[in-house]
Amino acid sequence: MNYLRHVGKYFIMLRQVFRKPQKWSVFREMLFREIEDLGLKSLGIITFISFFVGGVVAIQTALNVDSPFIPKYLIGFATKRSMILEFAPTFMSVILAGKVGSYISSSIGTMRVTEQIDALEVMGINSLNYLVLPKIIATVFFYPLLISLAMFLGIFGGYVAGTLTGLFFSEDYLYGIRLDFDPYYIQYALIKTVVFAFVIATIPAYHGYYVKGGSLEVGRASTQAVVWTSVVIILLNYFLTQMLLA
């Protein structure tokens, strides 16, 4: 029952968030700040992880398809598909849920317990709109770019792994990644990304915004935020996949 109450409160929060910004110039300033904090600052970790995950997926596939009857280009094909369909959109979103989610909930939570949110409200500012809307816009528009980059780097990582280990020929790999190219898969992945980006911005914001107490509670809220964001991403991934692909 408690969960239902939270879900209700979350949607009531969203109603406050989606209002017209009180001042566009202030909103724009916040938006650029958030694109930097939530997007650009995650470039490094996404680059690093996707490159190596791509490499590992290629090596694992190569090691598991040593039968002479299975064509070697399947390695490139499998790496491409798994990067585009799952590793880039879902896996990277879970990573972002950890990194960005904890940042969002602890920064908003700190603002709550140090009365900075009260200070906004006293000034006559809609604090939810001011704090959360720029985060949503920043993640929803920036993460598709980030995840596209992750797809590319993952596939590239697989290529590099093959060249370095000598487990497969790069011609086979390149043939594999070009085989049976279906733009709908990329569309599917980006739709997922947009949904996950929304979740990454809003669920931690909810946990931070309604925190009560002091720094201990802020810490606890940000752990909760990461757990719930990840759980929701995984569940939504299941339903979206069923809806869009099955």
């Binding site: 009180q22 001042k23 110039s25 202030v26 920064s107 700190t110 603002m111 140090t114 009365e115 900075q116 009260d118 200070a119 409200e121 006293v122 000034m123 006559g124 500012i125």
Partner: protein, 255 residues
């Protein structure tokens, strides 16, 4: 004038304010005093609209809070300045950005006009050369001053301060108290200050409201508080030996 009539507020069935009524005039430093937990902060937050009272009326110069639309509420809030207990400065913004923030949000001014105003209020609270510092780089007293500067930057009609000198040394505390009093008189603001510090009460308390367990136990000036016979007030005010002796000496002298 702010008129508060029979203000009642509870949290989860536990009453915190049990029917408080009073009035606050402009140009005077009004003080709410009382023990920690007596409901001072809740009272102040009800006044500014951060808590919704369960019953009772708060009337800002004829505008009853119950009769305002959300939009009118927001407009009223632009006439309110508030200094929070911990300062509540935005820690991702510099001092200058903190003070300029309400202007950016609500005033249609050019950057240089806003900057002039920021520098003017900074000077008013006796701060200079801190424009580009972040709140974490300032001392407690300086943070409070920035907080006061931010509260008055929009020329508020109403100023609320929640324990403005808690956590400060006695000297700095007196400076802050006097600053608030001066600003109140200079700009003819309606000022309400929460405090549990007897020094400030004696120093600047022109009208004092003593809260005890959510009830207005006593009301008067800092002259009257010296000679009152109200037991709860006496116990609170003269909880320190020093003050008790001062009171005895004072009463003897005036007899």
């Amino acid at each position: 004038m702010i008129e508060v009539t029979d203000l009642y507020k509870e949290f989860k069935g536990i009453p915190v304010l049990k029917g408080v009524s009073t009035t606050f005039e402009k140009g005077v430093t009004n003080m709410i005093i009382g023990q920690s937990g007596s409901g001072k902060t809740v009272f102040l937050k009800c006044l500014v609209g951060l808590h919704i009272p369960d019953s009772g009326i708060i009337c800002f110069d004829g505008r009853k809070h119950t009769e305002l639309t959300i939009k009118e509420h927001r407009l009223l809030r632009q006439e309110i300045g508030m200094v929070f207990q911990g300062g509540a400065l935005y820690d991702s913004l510099t001092v200058e950005e903190n003070i300029m923030f309400p202007l950016k949000m609500f005033a249609d001014q050019s950057f240089s006009e806003m900057l002039d105003r920021v520098n003017f209020v900074l000077k008013r609270v006796n701060l200079e050369d801190v424009n580009n510092k972040f709140p974490a780089e300032l001392s407690g007293g300086m943070q409070k001053r920035v907080s006061i500067a931010r509260a008055i930057v929009m020329n508020p009609k109403y100023l609320f301060c929640d324990e403005p000198n808690s956590g400060l040394d006695p000297n700095t505390a007196t400076v802050i108290d006097n600053l608030i009093k001066e600003i109140t008189e200079e700009y003819q603001i309606i000022t309400v200050i929460n405090s549990h510090d007897m020094n400030s009460v004696m120093e600047i308390g022109e009208k004092i409201i003593f809260l005890k367990d959510g009830v207005k136990e006593w009301e008067g000036s800092n002259k009257e508080i010296f000679i009152t016979e109200n037991e709860a007030v006496v116990n609170f005010v003269y909880s320190s030996n020093l003050f008790r002796k001062v009171r005895e000496a004072y009463l003897k002298e005036t007899k």
